[in-house]
Symmetry: C2
Subunit: 322 residues, 2 copies
């Protein structure tokens, strides 16, 4: 973090990213700056093996979205994908609550085969984004296992994907277990990207289970605090509710207020500014009182043009001209 006046104009934009919200934010940045100047550091806390293959939901959502191949309705998966593999497995008695499409499966199988052959997740992810013709760098936050677990009031501790997909995000969250991330090493290039960034963006992703695991990896939060670049977060909470997903239940379950103010509280040690939704403009004073600059605008990225305008706003705030 740094006072706005000190930021340089060269170097890259680094974005901490989860899934759908982050992917749409990145889709904004690639419209307003050189895509090759952007590096996404992506959460791998959701990763899990399904059907024998290594599924990396956030890495694939970011890549498929930037490549224009994502299923536009769901925000994840590949547009027009078929589901013969999970259907075949279901016929044979397997649990198939994670509906992985066939082309999506092939991508995960490719990742699995390369991992088994000894390649690193960062290299595989980089090759994949290049194969999709993407200039934007996509870095896994870590190459170590980082599974996020959710503890429920009934005492069960379940993998985040089980919480999100199988159980459909119940409200009875007692705590979130990020110990795996806390014991992991930053992925190749992650600390270097943060250190050389001219602007750092915290995408409007779930603060607890998408941005949370990235911040938990030893060295990353400190690197953000130490960065000479401005750090700007976009609130994923609008009018007291998440745009998508269970951020409300996870924020509440981990003791945060479900509001842009609650998100600012979690990030205040390393961010310089917050972009919040225009509907939350009334919270600006409280967030400014934390020592952060605030910009209120339309943050509902329903169309690529909105994403682009939001990206402009983030850069404006980062440059101290908002």
């Amino acid at each position: 973090m740094n006072p706005p006046s000190a930021h340089s104009t060269d170097g890259s934009i680094v974005a901490l990213a989860g899934g759908v919200g982050a992917a749409r934010m990145l889709l904004g940045f690639v419209q307003v700056v050189d895509p090759a100047s952007i590096t996404a550091i992506v959460n791998t806390g959701d990763d899990r093996e399904f059907y024998g293959v290594h599924v990396s939901p956030d890495l694939d959502i970011v890549t498929y979205t930037l490549a224009g191949r994502v299923d536009p309705e769901k925000g994840f998966g590949i547009a027009g994908d078929t589901f013969s593999i999970v259907d075949s497995l279901a016929e044979r008695g397997h649990e198939t609550w994670f509906r992985l499409g066939d082309r999506d499966f092939a991508q995960c199988l490719h990742r699995t085969l390369r991992l088994r052959a000894g390649d690193g997740l960062a290299q595989i992810t980089d090759d994949t984004r290049r194969a999709h013709g993407l200039a934007t760098r996509v870095l896994p936050m870590s190459e170590d296992p980082c599974a996020t677990f959710v503890e429920l009031d009934d005492g069960r501790v379940i993998h985040f994907e089980e919480y999100l997909v199988r159980e459909r995000s119940p409200d009875n969250v007692k705590s979130v277990d990020l110990r795996a991330a806390a014991g992991a090493r930053p992925g190749p290039g992650v600390l270097e990207a943060i250190a050389s960034a001219r602007c750092i963006v915290i995408c409007p992703s779930n603060p607890v289970v998408s941005i949370g695991p990235i911040l938990e990896i030893p060295g990353i939060r400190q690197a953000l605090c130490n960065s000479p670049a401005p750090v700007v977060a976009v609130s994923p909470i609008v009018g007291g509710a998440p745009i998508k997903g269970p951020a409300d239940r996870l924020l509440r379950g981990t003791g945060s207020e479900v509001s842009a103010r609650g998100v600012a509280e979690r990030y205040r040690d390393f961010v310089d500014g917050m972009v919040i939704d225009q509907r939350d403009a009334g919270l600006a004073n409280d967030i400014e009182a934390m020592g952060l600059r605030v910009l209120a605008t339309d943050t509902l990225m329903t169309r690529p043009e909105v994403s682009a305008r939001l990206a402009e706003s983030v850069l404006q705030l980062a440059q101290g001209s908002a």
Copy 2:
């Protein structure tokens, strides 16, 4: 083996089976006897991992054929299958000379996931044939790894599937390595099925790499010799050439004559009779001179009716009434 007069009329028919030829032979037997009285003991020497899944070509060919789901043109794979997985992997730079269809892949993935969960290949195979509504039992010859390797004149030693599919069965076979089978244990139920059979059939499969591995497993060849039931082999060689596949190159490469007589030589210690093609009737005297009964008929199973007639001929010869 036993003189024809001594065979009993109850008990089951046991068939030693490879792939396409065996499957078509079994398709004959299920038309002329109770399918539930048939047990196929199937070669697993062709098994290999492709794309992270356990492929069992002969087990699947037999099961798919009996279930009426096999691709009728190729004789293997599933009719109407798609190939999006191998195509996707090819796009990503993987070797995909083994063109596994998507539904076929799902079956192999199912097998892999169950094996990984600790289930045995025999149990999985049995559940699969039941799921297809098949009354005929399908037993893997072994649950141990039994990979068959082919040594070429150029010094290379390659897996049988590499020989068959990737290299398209070249002629320069120096030897066939069945040492894995020679160190394997018979699968659950295999020796019991042979011991209690009322009739044992050696299907018209490749004598070297389909029937050969089954015979190589310690205990099986001896069980055939000891059986009180008649043992009848159907020659896969017609007019000096195999009906399908590289049996000629493999017989030659392992020192056998490429003829029904050459096949009889390999089996003479445990068979009582040979069914040969009518075009090879001139070889009958030579084979009878080995002490075997011979029946010459149409063995080209181009249609299910021919398979049924051939099955009748096998039973006739087994019963000593041919």
